[in-house]
């Protein structure tokens, strides 16, 4: 029986924040190095974000969470969970959440753990955060999806593997800017993309990542949640899907019956690339920056391995009160300093010195 998930207590998002580093590399700059005369062929995105030399999942999570706290307007010590989803945690053993919780003044009465589920690690943390608040165990919980994704030089993923993400503070529905109407998660054993221990770059199944992986899981999660909540595509003001490129999210949006007006606000991949665990949820922050009370939003992530988390949100009046309290996603998207491939190789530690 596939039924939608609902919490015991009504819950929602009380604060949200984005972060994208300032550096960018154009896809043509990468193509010129590897593709020779075929460099002009279709590229998956226009450009992608690149982390600075002193940035990682921990530092970027701190800034996104600081933005979320400014909008949540709560004492950070009320937060009882700091859960960060990423495939690029700086430590193999020592949770990123420990540093983030300390830096935000959330410590010590909190849980802190790392989530890992490829590109849906962030929404996995969100599901758990809604659960701990919705059960009454915690007043507030912080869920973050953040990545500094790596693509093997010359590989298709090098054009899109980017850096950035978003943070969400979950809390009671009466304080929420977006109330959770329901969620649904769909997971199978589908090895479309993975990274083994001690490997720097992931492996992927090329076209296999499409139909059996991305499209099947998103389609299944999206159709189930809509059926279970008795909603149709036209009931949503905005929709956002995981965006590994531009083509995939546009294709699934159209297949499910959504229009460009519904999917365009949350589609950021052409400008910043695929921020992995941050990808679909950065799109959600871009939507929240512009949407209005009463708007309904569908968010469906995808993580290789594989699975999708689907969430249905309805916005409250509080969105207009808090969205201007800090930087918006568009501010980070527009802030851009372009680097050439040499500087990119240096920033991404692709140059071996020993």
């Amino acid at each position: 029986m596939q039924s939608v998930m609902k919490s015991v207590l009504p819950v929602g998002i009380v604060g949200y924040g984005a972060y994208i580093p300032r550096y960018r590399i154009k896809a043509t700059e990468i193509a010129n190095l590897w593709r020779g005369e075929q460099a002009g062929n279709q590229l998956p995105v226009k450009q992608k974000s690149v982390p600075g030399p002193d940035e990682d999942t921990i530092t970027m999570s701190i800034e996104a969470a600081q933005n979320a706290l400014k909008r949540a307007e709560i004492d950070p010590r009320l937060i009882r969970a700091v859960w960060i989803g990423s495939e690029s945690h700086p430590y193999a053993v020592k949770p990123s959440g420990t540093v983030v919780a300390q830096a935000l003044g959330i410590t010590p009465a909190t849980t802190g753990g790392d989530f890992e589920f490829a590109c849906k690690a962030g929404t996995e943390a969100m599901q758990a955060a809604f659960g701990i608040v919705g059960s009454g165990m915690a007043g507030y919980a912080l869920a973050i999806g953040m990545d500094t994704a790596q693509g093997r030089p010359g590989d298709a993923l090098e054009y899109t593997a980017a850096a950035g993400g978003a943070a969400f503070i979950m809390g009671p529905a009466e304080n929420a800017l977006a109330v959770l109407e329901g969620s649904f998660s769909y997971v199978t054993d589908t090895p479309d993309f993975f990274r083994r221990n001690y490997q720097k770059y992931p492996e992927h199944g090329n076209r296999f990542t499409g139909d059996p992986a991305y499209f099947h899981h998103i389609r299944s999660a999206a159709t189930t949640i809509m059926e279970q909540l008795y909603l149709k595509p036209e009931d949503f003001s905005h929709v956002v899907f995981h965006q590994p490129n531009k083509k995939f999210p546009v294709k699934i949006a159209r297949e499910l019956g959504f229009s460009e007006a519904q999917y365009s606000t949350g589609l950021l991949s052409t400008e910043i690339g695929n921020t992995y665990a941050g990808s679909s949820i950065l799109g959600l922050t871009a939507i929240l920056d512009g949407a209005k009370a009463g708007d309904r939003i569908l968010l469906v992530s995808f993580g290789s391995g594989a699975g999708s988390d689907a969430f249905c949100f309805k916005l409250t009046e509080r969105i207009t009160d808090v969205r201007d309290k800090t930087l918006k996603t568009a501010d980070y998207v527009q802030r851009s300093a372009f680097v050439n491939y040499s500087m990119y190789a240096r920033l991404r530690a692709k140059i071996r010195k020993s």
Binding site: D54, E55, L327, D331, R335
Partner: protein
């Protein structure tokens, strides 16, 4: 490895925690056990707000191995809005963008990794104030 020291300094590095003398009001960063001005031992911890302006700066080209990844980079003397003059690395800035009087704000960034196996050390750095976008030049005071 210097783990006890990193642990002890976390409030200084994450929260810009210094001290203020309860006798004469002198502010210190890092915090001190004894007021350098009036020698009072009655000091209280205070967290500065992380906003300031560049008093002066220098560009580093030769540095220790830990900081090689940032070369060339800027270290600035920063007059804090609500505190003393401190020294910090600037980040997210082009060398030709740095000016005396430039408004800056604190961010938490990586300092260094202690070799291949040691801890990763984080703390305050400063960047040009990112009020909207840094598409426009920050105002010069």
């Amino acid at each position: 490895m210097d783990i006890p020291r990193y642990w002890r300094l976390k409030n200084q590095r994450y929260h810009l925690e210094g001290s203020v003398c309860q006798n004469c009001g002198h502010q210190s960063f890092p915090s001190r056990p004894l007021c350098p001005q009036c020698k009072s031992k009655d000091l209280k911890s205070v967290r500065f707000n992380g906003k300031g302006i560049v008093y002066s700066y220098t560009i580093l080209y030769q540095t220790s191995e830990r900081y090689e990844g940032y070369v060339p980079y800027v270290v600035a003397l920063i007059d804090l809005e609500d505190g003393p003059r401190i020294t910090a690395q600037l980040t997210d800035v082009d060398l030709n963008q740095v000016k005396i009087g430039m408004p800056v704000e604190m961010v938490i960034r990586k300092y260094f990794e202690e070799g291949e196996t040691g801890p990763i050390v984080y703390g305050y750095k400063f960047r040009p104030v990112f009020s909207k976008q840094d598409l426009t030049e920050p105002p010069i005071k």
